[in-house]
């Protein structure tokens, strides 16, 4: 199982009658680490949800390793190797932690959930608890672990650090970097903590009002405080 290449062309999408994405094109090479940044409400989550097949798409194409995803429903995309960790975590509240993890296993044997426990020992302690009873941060760990268990070739992470203690954030970002740099996954990340995003990514995309307005490397961006300020609104 190896990382997949993502190519998006002229993607427009939204909810019901409301258009949010206004023609997005971007491409991520296999094993790439791309951070998608932008202010509140610019459509970062909508972009991920659209790639995962959960919004209404009006036009445009999404290719994963050359395979057109748009004709598939969310479940088929996942089976084709897409992994999605949504911003709202989407824990199965009435399933136990362990069952939540089973649900992410795809066709792998049940014993493999030990991988998740190795990543987050905290989850092992709570494994008989209902998902809905977990603390905010534990839920965040669970949703990430659950998706990674399915061994996606392309992983979409929507604010995976939200609510996590700083020490865990470090470990987690290190793990993501490891997954990408060993060529197992391509990772797209949305993150509010710019430092973490810059440390992780080899490429940055900035959205504004549903459009890509800037692309480049983290290095470029850090050297351009004016752009950072204008597009990401840091440091007023």
């Amino acid at each position: 199982m190896s990382a997949a290449k993502l190519e998006i062309t002229e993607l427009t999408a939204g909810y019901g009658q409301t258009r949010i994405l206004e023609g997005i094109s971007l491409s991520v090479p296999a094993a790439g680490r791309t951070a998608v940044l932008g202010r509140n409400g610019v459509g970062k989550s909508t972009l991920f949800a659209t790639i995962a097949g959960q919004t209404r798409r009006y036009g445009g194409q999404i290719l994963m390793d050359g395979q057109d995803l748009t004709a598939m429903d969310g479940s088929a995309r996942a089976r084709a190797g897409l992994g999605f960790v949504p911003q709202n975590r989407a824990i199965f509240k009435s399933l136990t932690v362990e069952e939540n993890l089973f649900a992410g296993l795809k066709e792998r044997p049940r014993g493999d959930i030990e991988e998740a426990y190795a990543m987050f020992p905290r989850l092992k302690e709570r494994r008989r608890n209902m998902g809905g009873q977990l603390s905010g941060g534990e839920q965040q760990m669970l949703t990430t672990a659950r998706t990674i268990l399915g061994r996606p070739r392309l992983l979409l992470l929507d604010e995976p650090l939200e609510g996590l203690a700083p020490v865990i954030c470090d470990e987690l970002m290190a793990a993501f970097t490891e997954l990408a740099s060993t060529g197992r996954m391509t990772v797209l990340l949305v993150e509010q903590r710019l430092k973490a995003a810059f440390d992780f990514a080899d490429h940055v995309v900035i959205l504004e009002r549903g459009k890509v307005v800037w692309t480049g490397t983290p290095g470029d961006l850090q050297e351009d405080p004016e752009t950072v300020n204008r597009l990401l609104g840091v440091g007023h």
């Binding site: 009873q133 905010g136 609510g163 700083p166 509010q192 840091v234």
Partner: protein
């Protein structure tokens, strides 16, 4: 006498000691941060204090009044208000309605069966002011279900402000709010009356260190540290259990 005092609060879930003999007290004007590893029991502590969960042992006092046996609602009347870690708003209502309702509640008019809040100038003026502080005026009349998550978080703060509490408990108010907008939250917190005591749970350490005069660290249900931000940052135990590379 402190404004708000928790003594020897304890709670178990099954075999798990989520809150273990915790005592904390707040004076008027305090700005305190409660931090700690995930699952340390911070949210549970708030739930115990606000009465959403019953403690196994311990006492909660507000302004000298023992509220341990009171309903969540009665505690709000005693001056204790909270926000939620995961936003809990009314999806079909607008930000304006949210804030107006909180104001009406504070004024004791929320059960009036006649009239319309929009014809009450004092309510409208205060609503407009609060929404203004939070930059929510442009979307004052949209349905909450369609506004971005960050704005919902701001509205959570707005609701708390409208209730004019004596003690305010904020559970991760900045989670999901981009750094650009944390400023708005800080601005809103700055505008709170100076004699109000605030206890905030937060994992964003930049924010914590800018905000707090005092930091309490909770781990596995127990208070392991209580001191100034500088002391916390220097404490090796806290660094290992919680701060990680941040302390560098």
């Amino acid at each position: 006498m402190s404004l708000f005092e928790v003594r020897n609060l304890s709670k178990k879930f099954g075999g798990l000691n989520v809150t273990n003999d915790v005592s904390i007290s707040l004076n008027p004007g305090d700005r305190i941060a409660l931090i700690g590893p995930n699952g340390a029991g911070k949210t549970t502590f708030v739930n115990l204090v606000t009465g959403h969960i019953r403690p196994d042992a311990g006492v909660v006092m507000i302004a000298g009044q023992d509220v341990t046996r009171l309903s969540p609602r009665a505690r709000v009347h005693a001056g204790l208000v909270r926000s939620f870690q995961v936003t809990r708003l009314f999806p079909e209502m607008s930000p304006e309605e949210h804030v107006a309702m909180a104001i009406l509640q504070r004024m004791g008019k929320v059960e009036k069966a006649f009239g319309d809040y929009r014809s009450m100038p004092e309510v409208m003026a205060e609503t407009a002011e609060i929404l203004g502080i939070l930059n929510l005026t442009p979307i004052a009349r949209s349905r909450v279900s369609g506004i971005a998550y960050g704005q919902q978080r701001l509205l959570e703060i707005g609701l708390a402000m409208a209730l004019r509490p004596k003690v305010l408990l904020l559970d991760e108010p900045a989670a999901g709010v981009p750094s650009s907008d944390t400023v708005l939250i800080e601005r809103a917190l700055d505008r709170l009356p100076p004699d109000l005591a605030v206890l905030m749970i937060e994992h964003d350490m930049d924010f914590v260190f800018r905000f707090a005069q005092r930091v309490v660290v909770l781990a596995a249900g127990t208070v392991i540290f209580d001191g100034t931000p500088a002391q916390v940052a220097a404490d090796p135990q806290v660094r290992e259990a919680y701060l990680g590379s941040y302390a560098e």
